[in-house]
């Protein structure tokens, strides 16, 4: 069995551990989030939805996952 290298990122303001080499799409899947229901900001850059596969999350990255909630 491989020992997966783990990295720590900042996810929605909190420390979060995940396996190294994951794409943004894989992160969303691991969190059970539908890509169409969230918007992703990686290190302050908004990612286009159809490019989630292209971005690999690295050690120390800051990820924000936002969505629409009730508001006035």
């Amino acid at each position: 069995m491989n020992t997966t290298e783990m990295i720590e990122i900042r996810l929605n303001g909190k420390p979060h551990d995940l396996a190294a080499g994951q794409s943004v799409r894989e992160l969303l899947e691991s969190l059970d989030l539908h890509p169409g229901m969230v918007v992703v900001e990686l290190n302050r850059e908004i990612l286009e939805r159809d490019r989630y596969d292209e971005f690999t999350i690295g050690e120390g990255d800051t990820v924000e996952l936002v969505h629409f909630v009730g508001g006035g």
């Binding site: 909190k14 918007v39 936002v66 969505h67 508001g71 006035g72």
Partner: protein, 270 residues
């Protein structure tokens, strides 16, 4: 309860549709989606209001809680036009960031720009609002800007490219109604883009008085969501907006602080 619909239907009135930034609204009432006790009541109240444009906020997904808290799990974006806001932002930079995030959700280019300048009154930071409006308009956003009831700021926002200017009736969530109807009228008289009064309406008479000033629409959230019966209040607001708009179009009689008899003074018996 299942009440008769007869009292909730607004009478037909000839009026042109409200167009904002190239989008035609069927209702002059725009409603928020916040503060409802349940999502079911929210959807029922919005349907009762007759509004087709609804505001939503951009927030972090709470990863410790149910994913169902997202409003799109309850509101069908094909049924309602989603107007994302920048509520909670205190700088132009933050507001621009939130607007960009909202646009990336992929629904439309509209944003309800809101930059707050004071935590106690939630009054807007008008300079930051104008700055953010310029930036966003240059990026192709259709900006509907929340502002105070100041004419000069309203003119600056129009110059900045806003597709609608939205002065407050009174502070957000206060329910105080229109505290300065003269300035609301003056803003409406001077601007070419639609003027939509946003915030401060407390009850149906406030919505009616707001529309009687001649503005193009009214946006509210708490007045409906915080009512004991939000669905019933939504009906009331719908009727009040219609009534106020109709009264404005009808042209009211002059008000005067003197009585004038309605019945003939001639023909009285000796």
């Amino acid at each position: 309860m299942t009440a008769s619909q007869t009292t909730s239907e607004a009478p037909a009135v000839q009026d042109e549709a409200l167009e904002v930034g190239g989008h035609t609204l069927t209702s002059r009432l725009i409603v928020g989606t916040g503060k409802y006790a349940t999502n079911e009541v929210m959807v029922d109240a919005i349907r009762a209001s007759g509004a087709d444009m609804v505001t939503v906020a951009v927030r972090r997904v709470d990863l410790d809680r149910t994913k169902e808290e997202g409003v799109l799990h309850h509101l069908d974006p094909k049924e309602f036009f989603l107007l994302a806001n920048t509520a909670g932002c205190y700088t132009a930079e933050d507001a621009v960031r939130y607007a960009r995030l909202a646009r990336a959700a992929g629904f439309n280019e509209f944003v309800k720009l809101e930059v707050i300048g004071d935590e106690t009154t939630l009054l807007p930071d008008v300079q930051a609002t104008v700055d953010a409006a310029k930036t966003l308009s240059d990026e192709g956003f259709k900006v509907m800007a929340y502002t105070n009831d100041d004419l000069v700021t309203a003119l600056r926002l129009e110059d900045a490219g806003c597709v609608a200017v939205m002065p407050l009736a009174s502070p957000i969530g206060s329910g105080l109604g229109v505290v300065n109807p003269y300035f609301i009228r003056e803003i409406k008289r001077r601007l070419e883009v639609p003027v939509i009064v946003d915030a401060g309406v407390g009850t149906a008479s406030d919505a009616c008085v707001t529309m009687e000033q001649g503005v193009d629409g009214v946006l509210m959230n708490t007045a409906i969501a915080a009512a004991d019966d939000p669905v019933r209040m939504a009906h009331a607001m719908r009727s009040a907006v219609w009534a106020g708009r109709s009264a404005y179009l009808a042209g009211r009689m002059p008000s005067r602080e003197i009585a004038v008899p309605s019945s003939p003074t001639a023909g009285m018996l000796d």
